[in-house]
């Protein structure tokens, strides 16, 4: 089942303080694919992925995750969410942070230890397990946030700007890990404002001022807009070019 739909978004609208952030956004995410959401800051990416992760509820419209309507407490267990801001407990060590979040997802004791070791090896932080998080650099905190999102082996990963502040070498290894997860059946939704990162996704959604202006594979998007680069395509769909 190559084209099974993992996540469905139907006609989402969302406002904060009378300002409309999202305008009628609809999209489908296919199982075991990476969907990239590209847009400048303030375009509504974070609001959209929060709705897609079932953390917030829309003013109108619906989100279905694996066929179930969200927000829904049970479904939160099947989503790995990495927020844009590093939501970590600075006074605690990385290990204590991981153990805490592992308990939140109901991991068993024996399972916990193994998973903590696994995810910390993935993000290359295993040697810093016993260090207080406030002593971490910005990039290390990002990686730890990613590790936490991976802890409970969620079938759907929602990552809000996962590679900000991470050095290029490590960025490549994180993308490789994302592809690996994908091959094993994980569906991944990634937001980014970096154009070259967008090309790494299987599918791409372009967001500008709360509207989904383009959706498709990067190749389709380039072709349809007759562009050489993603940036050009973005300008095309944003109505700036031509």
């Amino acid at each position: 089942m190559q084209d099974e739909i993992a996540l469905q978004v139907k006609h989402l609208n969302k406002s904060f303080d009378k300002k409309q952030i999202l305008h009628d956004v609809s999209l489908d995410v296919h199982k075991a694919k990476i969907l990239g959401l590209l847009g400048p800051s303030g375009s509504g990416k974070t609001t959209l992925v929060k709705l897609m992760a079932g953390i917030d509820s829309p003013d109108s419209g619906e989100v279905f995750i694996l066929g179930e309507k969200v927000p829904n407490l049970k479904m939160l267990n099947r989503i790995g969410y990495m927020a844009q801001a590093d939501a970590l407990y600075g006074e605690l060590t990385a290990e204590e942070n991981l153990e805490f979040f592992a308990s939140m997802y109901g991991l068993r004791k024996s399972e916990k230890k193994n998973r903590i070791e696994e995810v910390m090896k993935i993000v290359n932080l295993y040697d810093y397990l016993k260090i207080q998080v406030k002593k971490y650099s910005g990039g290390m905190k990002r990686r730890l946030s990613l590790a936490i999102a991976l802890l409970h082996k969620p079938p759907i990963l929602v990552l809000d700007e996962p590679t900000v502040g991470i050095d290029p070498v490590l960025r490549i290894s994180i993308w490789e890990e994302l592809y690996e997860l994908c091959r094993n059946g994980t569906t991944i939704i990634v937001t980014t404002h970096v154009m070259d990162e967008a090309e790494k996704c299987h599918e791409l959604g372009m967001i500008r001022e709360g509207r989904l202006i383009a959706l498709g594979t990067p190749e389709e998007i380039l072709k349809a807009s007759d562009s050489e680069t993603i940036e050009e395509a973005f300008l095309f769909y944003g109505g700036v070019k031509r």
Partner: protein, 338 residues
């Protein structure tokens, strides 16, 4: 399980934050110690100058623990002006005329009552028999308001630290992150109550023990009941602190709630005698949690009363706790509807 994890996390955070532990435990102990030095000393001995006083009167003043000095009229006036004595008693035609230094009303009152009783004794030649239902002779004022201070410090520090801790959880984004996990809203609040609960049990036990065993504050009742009340105080402060933190955007704004939430409670708690105030004003005290804390602690520590005297206070404090716990669970809806 999640409740337990939140509790453990809070205790770990506290463990890593030695300064806050210091603030919550040693600050109250330091202030209580200072207060006991200042208010726990011996009763004040009035300094009285006498002019032409009969010996019997002077003896009577001295029996009343006053320091009596004989002066000439002019020397007495000078000593009074220089503040060496609190009052001059000048016998003119056998009638005592009292001139007071007068800048400290408490000292003035002490002198006047002493002079009056001494004059009476000179006439009646009787000794008044004294006995105390509660308290004891020469009970220091620290014994009287110490119980309130114990309650106050537990309340104040737990309010501040728990409020700021929860505020940190909101501001650092961890609360939002937590809401992306399958944790239920009540589990967060219960975890906080237990985490801080465990810590405040240790804190209030230590403060109560120190006040009673080291500072020798008057304590004739049950230590277990004192602990019950201090723990209940901590729980009340905790739930109110978390509730109030929802209305603050940063630590500074949390501090701004101190004069609004804490200080009025102190005034109405019984630290100051309010029995001369209008009845409806006194009634305000009944709306402040600290009033019930003070009432219960005084009944236990000074009057040695038991459960029957404090069960109503316990009931009220317990209800306040429950009310704010429920309110906190509701407020979290702001972060996640379910």
């Amino acid at each position: 399980m999640r409740v337990r994890a939140v509790m453990i996390r809070i205790l770990l955070q506290l463990k890593h934050d030695k300064r806050t532990i210091g603030l919550m435990v040693f600050a109250p102990i330091l202030v209580l110690t200072l207060m006991s030095f200042i208010f726990g000393g011996e009763a004040y001995h009035s300094k009285i100058g006498v002019v032409n006083a009969p010996l019997q009167f002077v003896n009577s003043l001295e029996n009343g623990d006053a320091e009596v000095t004989r002066y000439t009229e002019a020397a007495a006036a000078r000593a009074l002006y220089e503040g060496e004595i609190d009052a001059v008693v000048d016998f003119k035609n056998g009638v005592p005329n009292v001139e007071l230094e007068g800048s400290d009303p408490a000292k003035s009152r002490a002198v006047l009552s002493l002079v009056k009783t001494s004059s009476m004794k000179a006439v009646l030649q009787v000794q008044v028999e004294e006995s105390y239902l509660f308290g004891y002779e020469d009970m220091s004022s620290f014994d009287n308001f110490g119980p309130i201070l114990i309650g106050f410090f537990v309340f104040f520090f737990v309010f501040l630290v728990s409020g700021i801790a929860f505020l940190g959880e909101r501001n650092s984004g961890t609360l939002e992150r937590l809401m992306a996990t399958p944790i239920r809203r009540w589990e967060i609040v219960a975890g906080y109550l237990l985490g801080f609960g465990v810590f405040t049990i240790l804190q209030s036990a230590l403060i109560a023990w120190f006040s009673i065993e080291v500072l020798h504050i008057m304590m004739v009742g049950s230590f277990a009941l004192v602990l019950l009340i201090t723990i209940l105080t901590a729980m009340t402060a905790l739930t109110i602190g978390i509730f109030i933190s929802a209305f603050a955007n940063n630590e500074m704004q949390m501090i701004q709630f101190v004069p609004i939430i804490i200080v009025p409670q102190v005034f109405f708690s019984g630290l100051f005698d309010l029995s001369t105030m209008a009845a409806w004003l006194q009634a305000i005290g009944r709306f402040t949690p600290l009033w019930y804390v003070a009432d219960a602690l005084r009944n236990i520590m000074i009057r040695g009363k038991g459960w029957e005297a404090i069960y109503f206070d316990v009931l009220v404090l317990g209800s306040i706790c429950l009310f704010f716990t429920a309110a906190n669970i509701l407020i979290l809806k702001k972060y996640r509807k379910i």
